[in-house]
Symmetry: C2
Subunit: 305 residues, 2 copies
């Protein structure tokens, strides 16, 4: 049931209308790992600098995340500075310092190579394939990407997608990837390139999931207080992949449930800065919010016609 995740571990400085925090733990692999760890064991591969203190390593370990693949090397950790306006729907990046992440070449420790599930975080699609070259045949590979790779390395990205079972991206990325404004048509095109399952995140508007002959639509959890949206997509992916690995199945009903667990994890994550909310999250709260999602979306069949 182990999940291998390869991605970024970073220090973020974030300003929202509700507060400001400096040098807090962030990065796609951090959010993914801690969200997924509520469901399945996680093997983490990333790179950090000398400024990455033991307390952060201890945090990962406290979630039973295997950090043998988290390399600490000379230099500074990847740093991102951004801010959100009142609408909270898009981050404005103020500064990106790649630092040690700039020359990241993922090395998969021997003990990780039998991971049954793989999540390729948002890194160069060439490196995503390099990760796949190093692992034995996993049960499934899920993948993220971003506008930067779509614009600068589309052909490499398509080569990676041909090897991927599940692509998890946002709606703007799906449209950009296919130059097609209609999401249903865009999904058909992307699925023809490789990923049998496509999960499209629409932020406050929820998620659409496309599989063979079926579309699933789920709203986002309606929160009155969204404190910091950073990491929402990565904690979604963590809950989604984490639940699938726990279930050990990829049938349609299981994937639908995974979409809801992903949405649950994202909804908790945005309630506080960094990983603060996930750090104090209880399994019973996950269970409770899953039930609330059921109540949010349920309607009865109709026989009035």
């Amino acid at each position: 049931m182990s999940i291998l995740v390869v991605g970024s571990v970073a220090f973020d400085s974030v300003k929202t209308p509700f507060g400001e925090a400096k040098d807090i733990l962030g990065g796609s692999a951090s959010y993914f790992s801690i969200a997924a760890s509520f469901f399945s064991p996680v093997n983490l591969v990333a790179v950090v600098g000398e400024d990455f203190g033991d307390q952060f390593l201890d945090l990962f370990k406290s979630f039973s995340i295997d950090t043998r693949g988290l390399k600490r090397i000379p230099g500074r950790t990847f740093r991102w500075t951004g801010e959100y306006g009142f609408a909270l729907n898009e981050a404005k990046t103020l500064e990106t310092q790649l630092n040690v992440f700039e020359n990241f070449l993922p090395e998969i420790p021997a003990g990780y190579r039998n991971s049954e599930y793989v999540f390729l975080g948002n890194i160069d699609p060439v490196l995503q394939r390099e990760v796949l070259r190093q692992v034995k045949k996993p049960r499934f590979v899920a993948c993220d990407t971003m506008n930067y790779w779509i614009q600068s390395k589309l052909n490499e990205l398509k080569k990676t997608l041909a090897l991927v079972d599940i692509l998890i991206i946002n709606d703007a990325e799906a449209r950009m990837l296919t130059s097609e404004p209609n999401l249903t048509k865009a999904a058909r095109t992307i699925r023809s390139w490789g990923p049998k399952t496509l999960v499209v995140k629409k932020g406050e508007y929820g998620v659409a999931m496309f599989m063979d002959g079926s579309i699933f639509g789920a709203p986002a959890f309606p929160l009155e207080e969204v404190f910091d949206p950073t990491g929402a997509g990565d904690s979604f992916a963590g809950g989604f992949v984490g639940y699938l690995a726990k279930a050990g199945r990829m049938d349609e009903q299981t994937v639908r449930k995974a979409v809801i667990f992903g949405s649950v994890m994202a909804s908790f994550n945005v309630e506080d800065f960094s990983l603060n909310r996930l750090k104090r999250l209880l399994p019973s709260e996950i269970q409770q919010r899953y039930r609330e999602f059921k109540n949010l979306t349920h309607f009865e069949v109709d026989d009035s016609f």
Copy 2:
């Protein structure tokens, strides 16, 4: 079970990336009436000019819509010209000719004054209250509005909202009405002004419905071909109010079903220009798409935690 609707009947000229049509039947009350007529009898109040041919009256009558309240007076019918880009999410208005609609003073025929259900289309909030003054106590009043009235007549609009049971608006209007970007908070504020039930339309992202102690979220039906979005919101309102009038109840499960029937009618409406799709729509197709909505949103409960 009769529904009284007061709103606009117009001729639209519409250009989409898929085609162009001139002087086709449009207006909020046209879309509302024909969509609602699949569920309940409709009494129409609107004004048209001498250029409004009998064939359009005959169309309304073929849907058993009562047109005694549709006044034909000297002058030209309200005309709207607009176009949509490839994203189809927002109309660009090229021209509005109010014509006979400019001095519209709704007069409710005696035979309509016992209508049990009232839908106040998007007209001056002062006139919306004037309509309510003329009817006997209906079982419920539903209401639409738009950014123009929010910006120019907010206090009058609030007076109208105090008399309304259900407000049906889009998400940008809900945010503008309350100066609050968080939709859940905006809903709380709007409901405190009068309407116990708030339905927020989010276009391709579906609908959120707020009632006492409960939120319902439904995605839009995923269409590969959206031909012309004009009238989607009004045909939603027609299906929503039409189903509630047919059911004769306002309990939560009934209102949730009404949201789905509204979404069904909107999804058909956008498949062709003007009312062309609704004109050839069969009740069995409504029933079928309702079932497809159930399949789109269903997920199982979970007992894995």
